[in-house]
Symmetry: C2
Subunit: 224 residues, 2 copies
Amino acid sequence: MPICVECRMLWPVSLRERKRARIRQTLVEAAIELFERDGYDETTIADIAAAADIGTRTFFSYFASKEELLFPESDARVRAAVEAIESRGPDDGPAEVLLRALRKVGEDSDDMASRLAALRLRLVRTVPVVRGRALQIQLDAQREIARNLAEAFPEQLDEVSAAALTGAFIGAITSALQVLLDDTDKLDDPAAVQEAVRRATDVALTPWLRASAWTVEQPPHGTA
Amino acid sequence: MPICVECRMLWPVSLRERKRARIRQTLVEAAIELFERDGYDETTIADIAAAADIGTRTFFSYFASKEELLFPESDARVRAAVEAIESRGPDDGPAEVLLRALRKVGEDSDDMASRLAALRLRLVRTVPVVRGRALQIQLDAQREIARNLAEAFPEQLDEVSAAALTGAFIGAITSALQVLLDDTDKLDDPAAVQEAVRRATDVALTPWLRASAWTVEQPPHGTA
DNA sequence: TGCAAATCCGCACTGAGTGCGGTTATGGTG
DNA sequence: CACCATAACCGCACTCAGTGCGGATTTGCA
């Protein structure tokens, strides 16, 4: 085993692990700094490694590529979503649980995380390779969430319909969000982004909420 | 202008354009051959260029990267989808039009196209960079389709809800399809793939079809 | 026929990423 | 504390992707 791939210890105990986690963090922060100052393409891995005081070769034992630096906490977010699914209330349906899980994904843990999130939002729109990686990660997360959703509702959802439901939710939200964040360049205004996320979620969910309300009441109007 | 980026002439008229289209085609075929024989990662761009009798440098004036070879007709498919939207019947709603447009996207034009489609299906699952590119292309297509859908239904859909609707459809279908094609390795059986696409579409569409049936009749049951 | 533009492509370069192997640091054990 | 197995570090050399430059060649058109 050549160095733990993601260093996933919650509390790194040994000196080795603490040191490792610290260097990892330093790398991310150095990268953010350099990306913001010089631009993504203009920053080389050698630059980042030098800024974090490690050898260029060693960089690759922390992150497989430059993009990876932008998604250091991605699987922690997936884990949070999965936990949200597992801790569902007794009366919740699949749609409610899924929605709450997705809200978890968007939460930033600290200042550095939201600074990173803002930077990432810009880079996803401008750097193809970053966008590709983001989509990839989203798809993986989607799968994991769908799998757990199917487990949480064994009578109502099989694997396939859980995947379809999850794909529809996330697809609708991200797709709407993309349009909303395309209109103006409010990427630097966290409140505006937050508002766009809310609106995207609302728009995306309207048909589903109606569908889940079916057994309860007839909706008042019929336009889409 | 350094060579037309995608060589988008429908009928290349001049000798220059015909030659160009022919070389482009040759490159794709050579690449398919080599990918199937030696594997994707094992095939270098230099190999492909040599097999097509052009210089390595020249390759990059036909395709920006190795992945691009696997998606040579991607925007022709988008165009077909857009045309399907534009030629909608007078009684069709957004969901019906969108569905028919998406069916267009899956159609292969000739034998080489479906051979490529099969290869691509396998590579998308095994080579990260190919998957990333596929996702990227899908997202772009999604945008274009959503834009045209909004134009086709100006009273019923704004930009945002058109994007949400499109994202939900495509997200649900691809997500379900991914699970269906994951179970067994039926990737080499075109009929099985076709069947999986059909099932994925069915599963993904069930809630929407119910929703669009709203104004007409009450559905018989209420489970998801 | 001749000219302007498009194309081809060799060369040199940068940067990503990998394998190898020697060196150093760490954690656990006696 | 000494010792050792192992994990981590990282320099070196390498392959390959991708780009800019510039000269040679081909094509379209008048």
